[in-house]
Symmetry: C2
Subunit: 591 residues, 2 copies
């Protein structure tokens, strides 16, 4: 599959034959060849955004290029390709993503807009596609497969069936179906997943997977159902089993999950790792600003022992091959001239980044000439929580006739952040409500539908680390319902009022007062701000949240309790859900 | 790109979930995993021709398969894929090819029918496609790009332009454009090659290359012109340069050329060899019968030091990836169950071969149930040489006024068989004809158009090894004109009459008498006989030829002097041609 870029073979041939000059030569570089793993001195000629020729030492040209760029002996490597990410998790809109990550050397992203899809449906996906064009960066979109993640056990703002997915697959720059998270639906061959995948099959399109802890016969069935990749491994054995099964493993380190050493361990002892690529999944603006994007995962991989030249391959040509892009991911004749100059192969920020042969960033500064744009973006308020009116709405009602205590299902996160666990705890009942008195390690969590259905669930969470007040978010994977962690319902109510007022975001509340708010008016998920000022807002709200917490936590730690396609017990607006069986389970044990 | 095989995901999922039984389990094997390079004990479940699951030690199934096959501890590897071959060179028709090579472990071939294309045009290609269906073996066809190889300097039976290539590309089982041999036409961007390649581009199809000794700026231009592969390297440096340029290298060892050590040397020192696959190009029936097919190249590669497990990867998944076949070349869920059991990874004949999960060969015996077929094949005589009537037609006329000797261009083959060289030799002139008296190392070569144009060329060849008589062939790459090597024109005339009578083939003549004839009535290229009796005919004619020769030579050594897309001077029916400049050159130096 070729990218969307046009190509005039005659001009490229003429340039190679030195009959017409190229646009640009990047000279004095150490080229990293992703086909052979060799590194050697070279100069690279570019025309019309394509690599025309890599000239090795002593090879001159009769037709000098219009421009030359001195690489000063740095490594020249292909631009990075992110095989799986959600733009919404950066909290930026696509155009600002481009401006933020091109300077870090990422030139192509394959994004899953299922966050905005869950909030505003197909229109949201179209907004992402259109907005991406306002800045440089090659942004491909995958049609969200699981909106909502699991129908029936959560309420979202939209629902995609085969018809909607098919409609999206026919849009330009949509290259496949995004993480097919309903792995149970796939290996049980339910109608929704079957018909959605059939839309991809019909068009011969890429089918992205998501199958944490799936193994053995279920893994075989999942693979036979369609999906070819995974970015959710938990153990080295899981990585090894999936690679043996021919799946592509996207090495992920995100703002939420980082178990990269485990993933790398799973690739060890193999003769080759053709099916390994890199992804960021969920990284927010502040992390992007401070440590970068794919380069940051690359840096960690190298730190954990990966061969730097091989890691370049993972982040470039392996990713392109995973998608079947036959003109991306390498620096060779006929490849699109997406390249970066780096002083060392350690994941540091590149000195210069080229997209289709254009210098788009230098020393961290975005330089691309974006199209003139006078369109004012307006965003409807998507936070609609009529069921929240008073403090009592945030109390956890004890079951009828349970006496003065009740065995309650309490949820906690394992420390790698990627698995939900639950435990039964006997909690006191006061005035018909479950009390957390005497349990400093516990707090309430309320997830309230924000699309007008009126549903809400109050649950108990352990070891979240809340000392006082409340932290709340309308970013809450994947239905993005209003989610708040609190000790005192009064604080939760204040948080709900604040986020409803600003159209979504995150906030910290103490003693009924809002300490700070991160406004995310674009679907309650994204800010129209560029990376740097947004990062400052993130820093502020994170600081405010940190004051309420007894332990360090990710900004997005509030956002990971609602996803019913990960193992363990999660909370949705409809109740507690077992992520393996995808069924509502009982919150109380009355036996 | 998927193969032509249909797939019912629901049945495959149900089988993986052990809800329905599989068709077959191959148990007690050492599986070679081409994704990881690991080798481990396993059992493989198959349904509907697809691998459902690879069960490792201790993994059982609740739904035992209808049949089991005991691998007796042998290695189970994917069926081999030949990335480039001409069925016509085997001298068998496609159905007999299938019966001959499946027992050697090849399950997929990507063939270039440009030999028959040069003789009988599109109808010939359609015959190959249709006839392939009469036996097992997955036969894909590439649309011949160079019929004739170079227009204007040779006369063939057909001529393909963009229109004809486009028509072929739209046929089922045609997967790309075959070896784009007119490399000069590509890097000079001539209209024929440009418009032919555009037909492939328009359909997003595979573009196979052929570019011996092309390097530097011409190689870049060739690559930019479209072709992505090469099977014609002459030196390790050439292999290295092409791999660096992102091209696929098809390691070739054929009945004509075998420089495998050179090719392997060119891959050394690379961190990985993702773009390396294996092909046979031209192998005749007798070699197939005696040593095999891809397995024979595999055996040589291992003998020359290749890692056997990596060589399995070259012959399977790397080949599939080169073509973009995403369900071939591996043993994993969702892959087509093309597999072979081998006692050692040394290229020996497999114990058993499975095609789409069916046992199709065991210990060298073809077992597939071919469709009932009562069609009688008839083939028109394609040998039409009205210009040959008498002995004088085979004499080499000296140029006017040259005196009693003339400096003549004499052609010879370098000893690796892959490069033509030429030298000027002063030869005596008698009665207006060039004589070879006193030059025992020389013989005449006549190439006569066999499609009725009336063209012919008589040239002088050195070191062919002919002691007496004549050897003749209508197999003569790529226009397949009547070609004869001789000392005495009377022998050449007898050979011409014989091959015209039988509709083409090869023969040996001494003292004006035909010693033996290999009849190839299918386009003068192929026999309707199966491999074993055909091999016996080949052996006989080869023996007869050997009696006339002072040195050992390949059966096809007569066939390689006419191809105007290889470096050096070649002979066509229109004259002597420089393979690099693709222009007719002078046979005599009169300065």
């Amino acid at each position: 599959m070729r990218t969307r870029k046009s190509r005039d073979r005659s001009r490229l041939i003429a340039a190679a034959m030195q009959q017409i000059p190229c646009d640009l030569t990047i000279e004095n570089v150490k080229l990293v060849n992703v086909f052979t793993g060799e590194v050697y001195p070279a100069a690279v000629d570019v025309l019309d955004g394509y690599v025309v020729r890599v000239r090795e030492e002593g090879e001159t040209t009769e037709a000098p290029s219009a421009q030359t760029y001195d690489g000063h002996g740095a490594y020249l490597i292909p631009g990075f390709i992110d095989t799986h990410m959600h733009v919404e998790s950066t909290m930026m809109i696509p155009e600002n993503l481009g401006r933020a990550i091109l300077p870090w050397g990422t030139t192509t992203v394959c994004t899953d807009p299922h966050e905005i899809g869950n909030v505003t449906g197909i229109e949201g996906v179209k907004f992402m596609l259109k907005n991406a064009k306002k800045a440089a960066l090659r942004q491909y979109v995958l049609a969200p497969s699981c909106v909502p993640a699991v129908p029936g056990v959560e309420g979202a703002g939209a629902s995609f069936g085969a018809k909607e997915v098919g409609e999206l697959l026919d849009l330009p720059d949509v290259v496949g179906i995004a993480e097919i998270m309903d792995f149970v639906g796939v290996y049980k061959d339910n109608e929704r997943m079957h018909t959605i995948i059939a839309e991809g099959d019909r068009r011969g399109m890429f089918l992205q997977g998501h199958a944490p802890l799936v193994h053995g016969k279920e893994l075989a069935a999942y693979r036979l159902g369609g999906p070819i990749s995974d970015h959710e491994c938990n153990t080295p054995g899981e990585v090894g089993e999936k690679l043996r099964a021919g799946m592509h493993i996207n090495l992920r380190a995100s703002s939420i999950v980082d178990n990269l050493p485990v993933l790398l361990e799973g690739c060890k002892g193999h003769k080759w790792r053709d099916n390994v690529s890199i992804c960021t999944d969920d990284v927010h603006a502040k992390d992007l600003l401070e440590t970068g994007h794919i380069n940051a995962v690359f840096a960690k991989a190298v730190k954990w022992g990966a061969d730097p030249v091989e890691a370049v391959k993972w982040g470039t040509i392996n990713a392109a091959r995973e998608y079947g892009f036959d003109d991306l991911g390498a620096i060779a004749p006929g490849y699109i001239a997406d390249m970066q100059l780096v002083d060392e192969l350690d994941g540091r920020r590149p000195n210069a980044v080229f997209l289709e042969g254009q210098l788009v960033a230098e020393n961290g500064v975005y330089l691309a000439q974006d199209p003139e744009d006078n369109e004012e973006l307006t965003f409807p308020n998507t936070v609609n929580i009529p069921q929240i009116t008073c403090e009592e709405d945030f109390r956890l009602k004890a079951p009828e006739g349970c006496g003065d205590s009740v065995k309650t299902c309490v949820i906690y996160l394992e420390k790698d952040g990627n698995r939900r666990r639950s435990v039964w705890i006997e909690l006191p009942v006061k005035d018909g409500y479950v009390s957390l008195e005497g349990h400093d390690d516990l707090q309430y969590c309320c997830i309230a539908n924000r699309y007008g259905s009126g549903d809400k669930t109050v649950a108990v969470i352990k070891d979240f680390g809340l000392k006082e007040g409340a932290v709340a978010s309308t970013v809450s994977h994947d239905s993005h319902n209003f989610t708040v962690m609190y000790k005192d319902p009064a604080d939760a109510l204040a948080a709900a009022k604040e986020l409803a007022r600003v159209g979504g975001g995150m906030c910290a509340v103490r003693d009924g007062k809002v300490l700070d708010t991160l406004c995310l008016p674009v679907g309650g998920l994204m800010s129209p701000l560029p990376c740097a000022p947004l990062s400052e807002e993130i820093r502020r709200v994170q600081e405010a949240m940190a004051g309420l917490l007894s332990k360090k936590g990710s900004l997005l730690m509030v956002a990971v309790f609602a996803l019913p396609v990960v193992p363990g017990i999660v909370v949705t607006d409809k109740g507690l859900v077992n992520g393996f069986t995808q069924q509502i389970v009982s919150q109380f044990d009355l036996n």
